[in-house]
């Protein structure tokens, strides 16, 4: 008795959207009259400070660059070792380097950057939005590129002198790039 109603409403919503697509309108003209509209249009410039999404192909990466040596200085400046250990060897928040084989039978494999993370862009994305824990979103883009380069170099995924920027970072091939399988491909 509850479910059919919900399904019906879902179908109506779907049909409305489908109808809008079919007309190539996005929003149907009829919808304007019968639906509440309390949003305010916002320009890309106004939402830019919040639009920090980065795609694995590099779309969304900002200007700037950095190397491992510069990244080591950033790592020291912000005392990253307090949580992640000297040279990323591990602390209360776990290591940034290392990680054994993922099919180990003896011990639970650690899912670390070098042995597990499929995309280098994720390091940049997470660092920029969430690190350092006490003052996130304060690093410059150069600092984020640099510390990303430092972590990648510690894992020997890039060379000591490689420059990370919007062009080079998405081209870094992570060792476990092909290690993932979608569990429910029919759901997306």
């Amino acid at each position: 008795m509850f479910m059919p109603k919900m399904s019906m409403r879902r179908m109506i919503t779907r049909n409305r959207l489908a109808f809008a697509f079919a007309l190539g309108l996005g929003v149907s003209a009829a919808g304007a009259a019968d639906a509440p509209r309390f949003g305010q249009p916002i320009s890309p410039a106004d939402l830019a400070p919040w639009d920090i999404s980065i795609a694995p192909d590099g779309v969304g990466l900002p200007p700037g660059s950095g190397t491992a040596a510069q990244g080591e200085a950033v790592y020291t400046k912000y005392a990253c070792a307090l949580c992640h250990g000297e040279k990323g060897a591990g602390g209360p928040s776990g290591p940034l380097v290392g990680g054994g084989p993922l099919d180990s039978k003896e011990r639970d494999p650690q899912k670390l950057i070098g042995n597990y993370w499929p995309y280098a862009t994720t390091i940049f994305d997470f660092t920029r939005r969430a690190m350092p824990w006490q003052q996130p979103k304060t690093l410059t883009n150069d600092e984020v590129y640099a510390v990303t380069a430092y972590i990648l170099a510690l894992n020997k995924i890039i060379g000591e002198n490689d420059v990370m920027n919007a062009e080079t970072l998405p081209k870094v091939k992570m060792p476990n790039r092909d290690g993932f399988i979608s569990k429910y491909p029919e759901k997306h």
């Binding site: 309390f38 099919d103 569990k183």
Partner: protein
């Protein structure tokens, strides 16, 4: 209701499975059954206790205290609290677990709803908060909290469960802990808010959009990629939790609600939705919330929380007070729909009896199950096994391990060495009535 035939006033409950599981009507039969029980064991104790003369307590002999503006639980219930993994807010995530063994029914009180948070409890000023919807839309829009309150709202009762709930079950040796420690990262509430599809009608959707990125306003601006199919199905911008504004730890002033999907995707303190063609590959969909298989490959985008049940009464910490009648009760739920049945075993899975499901049985919501039990005092192993309307059956531990591979060690109770653990839980009852987590 059909009554059992009487035999000089003493009714023998109908056994329905091994080790004392009995027809539930035996317990619902009222006075007839109680009269029967009082002739043995526990009944004798009750008789002597009832013989003491009644007294008026001080609460009957004078006024109480003024009614508080916001009521709190009784001072005698102070032990009913969440357990905290990070009480001093060290620079790491925090987990707060729901005390299932001290609650009943299906709705989790707001102050006891489980929490996983990367940056502590975030306090967002609703007047300054904004929700932005942009990306592959016709018109990017920004919404104030006040604006969202003007839309037509819907309510639904649904559980939210952390993808890492029940992780302690993935261990070589059974980890001892209460049901709160083992299964406390799952809760159920009534959520009220605006359907995401309502707002998407306003922004318009580019057909190229296959995913949306949801992002919070907390310390890590936590981000997840979610299929558009879910946006157009039952996704909600939730503003209320059990009738009041969402609790700060659960996302005040608004959270994304994706009924049945992994808790982490239900982004709290929601501030941005971006429609995109493909996933952003955030840390929480590449490192976290991916399931490493024995062959070294990993499942990714493991969205629904699959069918699960566990017995809350009795459970570790709630020991039995001698042989006699007990109600076995527990919680069942599935991210794939309604619970269609729950079976209970008292002999470690050799025989099963169908439990009664407490109405209402709602899709993607906690369902309370109950089973009558006459314990004879011998050691037994209790289990529950849920089935959902899609036909998914809660796996045995053996089946679960066959898929995920054998656990390599016995981790700390708070560790997350596996995710989406939904295997059957076993409680071992010893002759003294103590309840332990066992493998059967």
């Amino acid at each position: 209701m059909k009554r059992k035939p009487r035999n000089n006033g003493i009714t023998s409950p109908q056994p329905v499975a091994g080790n004392g599981l009995v027809d539930r009507r035996a317990l619902l039969g009222g006075g007839v059954m109680l009269a029967g029980a009082m002739t043995t064991g526990i009944g004798a104790t009750l008789t002597s206790a009832a013989a003491e003369p009644m007294e008026n307590g001080p609460w009957s002999l004078g006024p109480g205290v003024p009614i508080p503006p916001y009521g709190q639980p009784s001072k005698y219930e102070q032990k009913v609290v969440r357990t905290l993994s990070n009480p001093k807010l060290e620079p790491r995530g925090s987990a707060a677990r729901t005390p299932h063994h001290m609650l009943n029914g299906t709705i989790t009180p707001n102050g006891l709803h489980f929490v996983i948070a990367r940056g502590g409890e975030t306090h967002v000023d609703p007047d300054k908060h904004r929700l932005v919807i942009h990306g592959l839309v016709k018109q990017p829009m920004v919404y104030t909290v006040d604006a969202l309150h003007r839309y037509p709202m819907v309510s639904r009762i649904t559980f939210v469960e952390c993808g890492g709930n029940s992780a302690p079950l993935y261990s070589k040796e059974p980890i001892q802990g209460t049901v709160q420690a083992l299964h406390g990262l799952s809760s159920c509430a009534e959520w009220t808010g605006v359907r995401l599809s309502t707002l998407l009608e306003e922004t318009g959707v580019d057909p190229k959009a296959k995913w949306f990125i949801a992002e919070g306003a907390d310390l890590p601006t936590m981000n997840r990629s979610i299929p558009m199919t879910k946006a157009l199905d039952d996704a909600m911008i939730a503003l209320y939790q059990n009738g009041e504004a969402i609790n700060p730890a659960n996302g005040y002033p608004m959270r994304l609600l994706l009924p049945g999907y992994e808790g982490n995707m239900n982004v709290k303190w929601l501030r941005r939705i971006k429609l995109v063609e493909s996933p952003t590959m955030a840390i929480n969909e590449t490192k976290q919330y991916t399931i490493l298989r024995p062959d070294g490959k990993a499942w990714q985008f493991y969205f629904p929380q699959e069918v699960k049940s566990f017995i809350t009464h009795p459970s570790p910490g709630l020991s039995l007070k001698g042989p006699g009648f007990y109600e076995i009760a527990g919680i069942a739920y599935s991210g794939n729909g309604r619970i269609s049945r729950v079976d209970v075993s008292a002999d470690g899975g050799k025989s099963w009896a169908q439990a009664a499901l407490q109405d209402p049985v709602l899709s993607k919501a906690f369902t309370r199950f109950r089973m009558a039990w006459n314990w004879d005092g011998r050691p037994v192993t209790l289990q529950s096994r849920a089935v959902d309307e899609a036909g998914n059956i809660q796996p045995t531990r053996e089946a679960f391990i066959a898929e995920r591979g054998p656990p390599r060690g016995t981790p700390n109770v708070a560790a997350f060495t596996m995710e989406h653990c939904n295997a059957i839980t076993s409680w071992g009852i010893s002759t003294n009535g103590e309840v332990a987590h066992v493998y059967a």
